[in-house]
């Protein structure tokens, strides 16, 4: 199939960085800044992009995505803002408690799943709480492009209004802030009413807010394609599970944060792949026997193959249950 098969250089899409600043902003939110370890500029990114920060938490690897909030035109550093989540799985706590200036960390190349529609006649940003971060970069980009925008930003209290002062000072008239504790709320219907044709709305915040914006816009006759959202979901790892590789006669454990493919590779067994994204079909592997349920996440196998458990795509799919044997 391939012209010149190439193994990926493992980890090539990762960047080694040094923490260059840790700036507490308020009780809950701290900004972290990274510079490339080799002193060069970091890769250029587009507003709305995120990076996945790898944390080494006492032998456990944690991978959390954060929006890059710094100005895309300035690649001397990346900035992220992390809200401490005392109930979460611990990534944000680790960042707040353990990460210090000068620490070395690994982050991924920027990935953008929340990009600006550059055709838009006007951009309307709606942020809730820490959902402000992607808009910090978007605003910087819009200011440079000279495009029309406005921000509607809802925060709990003045004290927790991350970047409120900076934004209001720099962009009076474009930034509208709403304080929960003063019973202020975004008047969404009015806000959507009367926007020029070709306006795009972007929302980032809690799930309830995102659903509300989508539903309200839709009821006002807005096309779905003009409403964009990014939800703060945690990465979806899976429960650890065990697999027997028949051909190589090995039993391996797949950890919470690694893919089955990575676990196979870690055990020293050669496995084919190209995309590592469930699309190319290269890693297709026959199932010898199983007792349990597959979590298929690929776009390659068809519904029948998913249902009958004859094959699995180890780059993205997982398994829960008693036992799984693969022909590998």
């Amino acid at each position: 199939m391939s012209a010149a098969p190439q193994k990926a250089k493992a980890g090539a899409e990762k960047i080694d960085v040094t923490v260059s600043a840790v700036v507490p902003l308020n009780e809950l939110v701290t900004r972290f800044e990274f510079k490339a370890k080799d002193g060069r500029d970091l890769p250029t990114f587009s507003a709305g992009a995120h990076t996945v920060v790898q944390m080494n938490d006492q032998g456990r690897t944690r991978l959390n995505p954060y929006s890059i909030m710094s100005d895309p035109a300035d690649t001397s550093h990346y900035a992220i803002s992390v809200r401490r989540d005392d109930e979460g799985r611990g990534g944000s706590l680790f960042m707040h408690r353990n990460v210090k200036v000068g620490d070395e960390m690994t982050i991924t190349f920027p990935v953008n799943l929340f990009s600006l529609d550059l055709r838009a006649r006007k951009q309307v940003f709606i942020a809730g709480g820490i959902g402000i971060t992607p808009f910090m970069a978007m605003i910087a980009q819009m200011e440079r492009l000279g495009g029309q925008w406005e921000l509607h930003y809802s925060v709990r209290t003045e004290a927790l209004g991350t970047y409120v002062q900076e934004l209001s000072y720099k962009h009076p008239g474009k930034v509208h802030v709403y304080y929960d504790d003063q019973s202020q709320a975004i008047a969404l219907e009015d806000l959507l009413d009367g926007q020029p044709l070709g306006t795009n709305v972007y929302v980032c915040g809690p799930k309830g807010m995102i659903d509300w914006v989508h539903a309200t816009a839709s009821a006002a006759g807005w096309p779905d394609a003009n409403v964009h959202s990014e939800e703060f979901t945690k990465p979806q790892p899976g429960k650890p599970f065990q697999v027997r590789l028949c051909k190589s006669d090995k039993v391996i454990d797949v950890g919470e944060h690694e893919s089955l493919l990575e676990a196979i590779e870690r055990s020293g067994v050669e496995a084919p792949f190209l995309c590592r994204g469930g699309a190319c079909g290269q890693c297709e592997t026959d199932v010898v026997s199983f007792d349990g349920d597959f979590i298929h996440r690929d776009h390659w196998l068809d519904d029948d193959q998913h249902a009958n458990g004859s094959k699995i795509m180890p780059c993205v799919s997982r398994f829960v249950g008693k036992s799984l044997e693969l022909d590998r």
Partner: protein, 357 residues
């Protein structure tokens, strides 16, 4: 190695030719003795030394002449290069990608000196030494995409990514296998692929699109496609089909070895950082049948592939009428021996052609 650039033409007297070096590194696209559409994508992170896969943007002996041909096509028909207004930023992304890649990969041919947004670009083969302000269009003679793709072999489609879809919103297309940028601009991935037979039913485009949407910065990908062209004509455009179509009827058993070319496209995919657009460079390589036949394995294999290719594909690729004559010619180079797997010519290990008596 410094490249010796050919003095050659891709029209009129067709003085195009491949050196032994170029034949050996020709991206022969068939890894087995048959061919069918597939989601044949892999990572684009280098390849064997000297191969066309090694560098991000391959530069070869045809560079200077291809760029001259492109300039002629554009002079005749400026609509071959178009960019919708929202794609200018992606154009700058592409300019940066090509300048950085070429200056790093071919330091003897290209230089990029950056001081903030003041850039100096030196292109020695084309004799260009320009200073401009990055992201300021008024400092370049053309838009950023046109400027840089007048200096880069192969066609370029720049795709905007919106609503989980790719949109062909900009491009430089002068060496295409019979499709029109002017017609296709603004279309989405499924729309511009609509004329392709069989692949839709096979689900290929659905899967390919998912893959492309997920291509990430720093992790480019590539694939090969191929077709057939009579005479080494780069500009097989629909726009000019009423002029070049007739050339397909000039094949004879005597001239087919020299005139009939296998046309291979090395297609690569890069995520562009500022715009989040995707660029799709389509690099075209031509090789005459007679040059291909100098590699015994390729001779055997090409015969079998052409012979067994489904009719729909031979029709779509435009050589159904000439297929019998091609097979007459190619069968002389197929002695029935098995071929080794993979695309490489394996000259040292594959047996020479057994002459039938």
């Amino acid at each position: 190695m410094t490249i010796q650039f050919n003095e050659e033409t891709f029209r009129d007297d067709y003085s195009f030719h491949n050196s032994d070096w170029a034949i050996k590194r020709f991206p022969f696209p068939f890894h087995e003795d048959s061919y069918m559409y597939a989601v044949n994508m892999e990572q684009h992170r280098g390849g064997p030394e000297g191969s066309v896969y090694e560098k991000r943007f391959d530069v070869d002996e045809h560079y200077v002449s291809e760029m001259r041909d492109r300039a002629m096509v554009l002079a005749d028909d400026p609509l071959r290069c178009q960019s919708l207004p929202h794609m200018t930023l992606a154009g700058w992304d592409l300019l940066e990608l090509i300048m950085v890649s070429k200056s790093e990969d071919y330091p003897d041919l290209f230089e990029l000196h950056r001081n903030g947004n003041q850039w100096r670009w030196v292109n020695k083969p084309l004799g260009i030494d320009d200073t401009f302000t990055f992201l300021d269009e008024t400092t370049l003679p053309y838009g950023p995409m046109e400027y840089i793709t007048r200096q880069a072999q192969g066609d370029f489609c720049v795709l905007d990514q919106r609503d989980d879809m790719l949109w062909m919103d900009a491009g430089m297309v002068t060496t295409q296998a019979d499709w029109s940028l002017d017609f296709d601009i603004g279309m989405n991935f499924f729309e511009w692929h609509a004329p392709v037979p069989l692949a839709h039913e096979m689900g290929i485009f659905k899967r390919a699109l998912k893959f492309l949407l997920n291509i990430q910065q720093g992790a480019p990908a590539r694939r090969l496609n191929w077709t057939m062209t009579v005479n080494p004509l780069l500009d097989t455009s629909p726009e000019n089909y009423h002029k070049w179509g007739i050339q397909k009827t000039t094949l004879t058993p005597e001239n087919i070895g020299a005139k009939q070319h296998l046309r291979v496209e090395l297609q690569t995919f890069f995520r562009l950082p500022r715009s989040n657009a995707l660029v799709f460079p389509i690099r075209c390589y031509l090789c005459s049948f007679q040059d291909l036949m100098t590699m015994p394995k390729w001779g055997r294999r090409l015969h079998r592939v052409v012979r067994d290719l489904p009719e729909e594909l031979a029709t779509y690729k435009g050589f159904i009428d000439n297929r019998p004559m091609m097979l007459d010619y190619l069968s002389q180079f197929d002695d029935g021996l098995p071929t080794s797997r993979g695309v490489w010519p394996d000259l040292d290990t594959e047996p020479a052609l057994k002459k039938s008596s």
